[in-house]
Each structure stands twice: as structure tokens, then as C-alpha cells.
Symmetry: C2
Subunit: 158 residues, 2 copies
DNA sequence: GCCGGTATACTCGGATATATTATGTCCGAGTATATGTGG
DNA sequence: CCACATATACTCGGACATAATATATCCGAGTATACCGGC
């Protein structure tokens, strides 16, 4: 069970975009910021656009920018954008698929205890993710980081 | 991010083994219990043996049985047996891998805020999983389920 | 000098390959039972 | 009748295929800018 590294990339890009202001930032710059494959990062950020977390602008002076203020983008949003809404654990109801079992038994109307337990744990995870926003990540970063990001941006953009 | 279905299989097998008693149960019976591919389920349960959650016995009258009382096997144990100890989110420290950055900056001694936030959420998930045991799953099942399992066992074993 | 049209360079977007992982299959090693044989 | 050796059938265990997914790449569609010619 491994989360796509696109989540890590997108989270860092969100923080960086917040630091750099509202102007669109090309994906090439972000890729050099973190030494990532440019085309794949582009594709990765498309998922963020599709889920309404970023806005993209084509053409010269184009790029990506945040679609919402940092305080309104949660880690849950970023994870969902890449991993989808489905849970990691997926109950396939094998309990009623075996040999010599009757799937119409009334007890199978209520959800499987294993599924419920897994769901409960995963809900705890999701709830925690939903409490953390990009603004919190910015607040946790060193104070000089924002200015350094803008400095690097000027250098990379040229 | 998708959990291996082996986790679901193993969890159901744990409950069933607890219901059937201490005698080893062949994997062929468990496979027919849930209509699963026998050889693959066998391989799956090997991971449970390696992690000390089940014991296996070779030869006639052999099979799998629980290595611990149901109250001492948690869902966390089962998940870890199949998914390993590593976290789903893995920080690759891209923050210090970019162009024009100095990896020896003192701020990079402290962990990445994104990594910390993800770890915190995942810890909530793990803590919740660790509180749920196989005994709890048994308690949540319908009272008649245990007897029905034994009945099916007699039929399948022949 | 000013305006409009055109070419251009730069961006994102999605269709297309490759690598990695999860899923599924197969056959061999080992062991308890059953069987047959000799005492 | 009993003990022992042997054959047998059944189990797990890990090496070997296949399918699904994540990662990576490539080229086309679209747009703001710069340039150039005409007014």
C-alpha cells in the first residue's frame, strides 16, 4: 500500500505557489525547483486542476496557480485529487461468496464487521488529514523559506 | 493507494480459524469457504506465518491455525504482515533536491512539515487499527455464525 | 506615429510507452497415515 | 497378534508467469506576445 508520489509533489507545489503569489508559475519552473520530471509533474498537476485545487493558464506567461486560498486547501483534498475517493481497504464481501453459504441470509444486510473496522480506522486518517491545510504547512516552515523561494524563482525564471 | 486484498482474506481467515478451533485447517478448505484461488491464498497465509500470527503444519491433517489467541491479534498486525511497516506516504525530501538549493541548510535537519503532517494522520490510522482485535470481530459477528462455520467445515472436509 | 494582422514562442493537455507491483499458477519438499510383511 | 519398514496421499513452501497499476515521455491544441507592414 503505497501512496503515489504525486501527492508529495503536489503538496510541495501548493506551498511554493502560495509563496510565489498569484501569478501563474510554469511547470518547468516547479520541476526545476524540486528536480522532478517536467512532463510528468505537468500531468500530475492536471489532477489538481480537475479537482478545483489549482487553475491552469495556457500560453506565454501561463502556468499553474492555486484556485483557493491556502487555508482552504486541506491535505485530504490533495490526497483525494490523486488517489480518488475510494478507500484503501475494499470489502469484496467474500463472507457471502463461499461454498454452501446462502447470500440471502438477513445478517448480510448489515455491513461486514471487518469492513466496518477498517472503515473506522481509515476515517480517523481522513479526519486528521482534513484538519491540516496548506496554510498550516506554510506556518510550520522556516520564516526565511518564503523569501528564498521568491529569490530562486527570480533566478530560475531569468 | 489500494490495500492488498490479501488483508481482507487473512482477516476473514483469522475469524474462521478462531471459530473452527485449534486443529489445523487446510488452505483448500478456507479457499472453498470464500471462493478464493487456493494456491494464492496459501501464499497469502504464508505472510501471516512469517509474522508469527499463524502456525502452519505440513502433511495430512495439516493446515493453518492461529498462533495467538484472537484477543492478541490486531488488525494492525494483519495489515503489517501484508503491507509491511513502511508508511503509505514516503517523503523523498524533494525540498532539498532542487536547483539552486543548499542541502546543508540547518532547517533541513528538522523533518519536512508535509511529511510530519502525513505521518501524524497515518499514525491516527495505525492507532485505531491497533485497538481492534480478531476477538472484537468475533464479538461483532452474529451469534449463529460460529456454529454455521463449524457446520460448513464438517461438510467441506467430508 | 498608430493600428491591425500575422508569425512565433511558450504554455498546458491528453494519448502513448515503459517499469514496477500485485495477482495468480505450478511443481517440489516434507510428513502423518495406511498398508503389507516378517517375526 | 504385534512391530517395523515402506508406499502413499496429502499438506505447505517458494520459484515461476501474467495482469494491473504507477511512472515517464511525447506531440498536438491553444494563447499572449513580438514583430512587421500598411495607413
Amino acid at each position: 500500500m503505497r501512496m503515489s508520489e504525486n501527492v508529495e509533489w503536489s503538496a510541495h507545489c501548493c506551498v511554493t505557489l502560495a509563496w510565489l503569489g498569484d501569478d501563474p508559475v510554469p511547470v518547468g519552473v516547479l520541476a526545476r525547483f524540486f528536480d522532478l520530471p517536467r512532463a510528468y509533474l505537468n500531468k500530475s498537476l492536471q489532477a489538481m486542476v480537475r479537482h478545483g485545487l489549482m487553475r491552469s493558464v495556457s500560453g506565454p506567461r501561463g502556468g499553474f496557480r492555486l484556485a483557493l486560498p491556502p487555508g482552504r486547501i486541506t491535505l485530504m483534498d490533495i490526497v483525494t485529487a490523486h488517489e480518488g475517493r475510494e478507500e484503501a481497504f475494499r470489502c469484496t464481501e467474500i463472507r457471502q461468496r463461499g461454498e454452501g453459504i446462502d447470500p440471502s441470509l438477513p445478517e448480510f444486510r448489515t455491513p461486514c464487521a471487518i469492513s466496518a473496522a477498517m472503515r473506522k480506522a481509515e476515517l480517523a486518517w481522513r479526519r486528521d488529514l482534513a484538519t491540516q491545510t496548506v496554510a498550516d504547512l506554510i506556518a510550520a516552515a522556516p520564516p526565511a523559506a518564503a523569501e528564498r523561494a521568491r529569490e530562486r524563482y527570480r533566478l530560475l525564471r531569468g
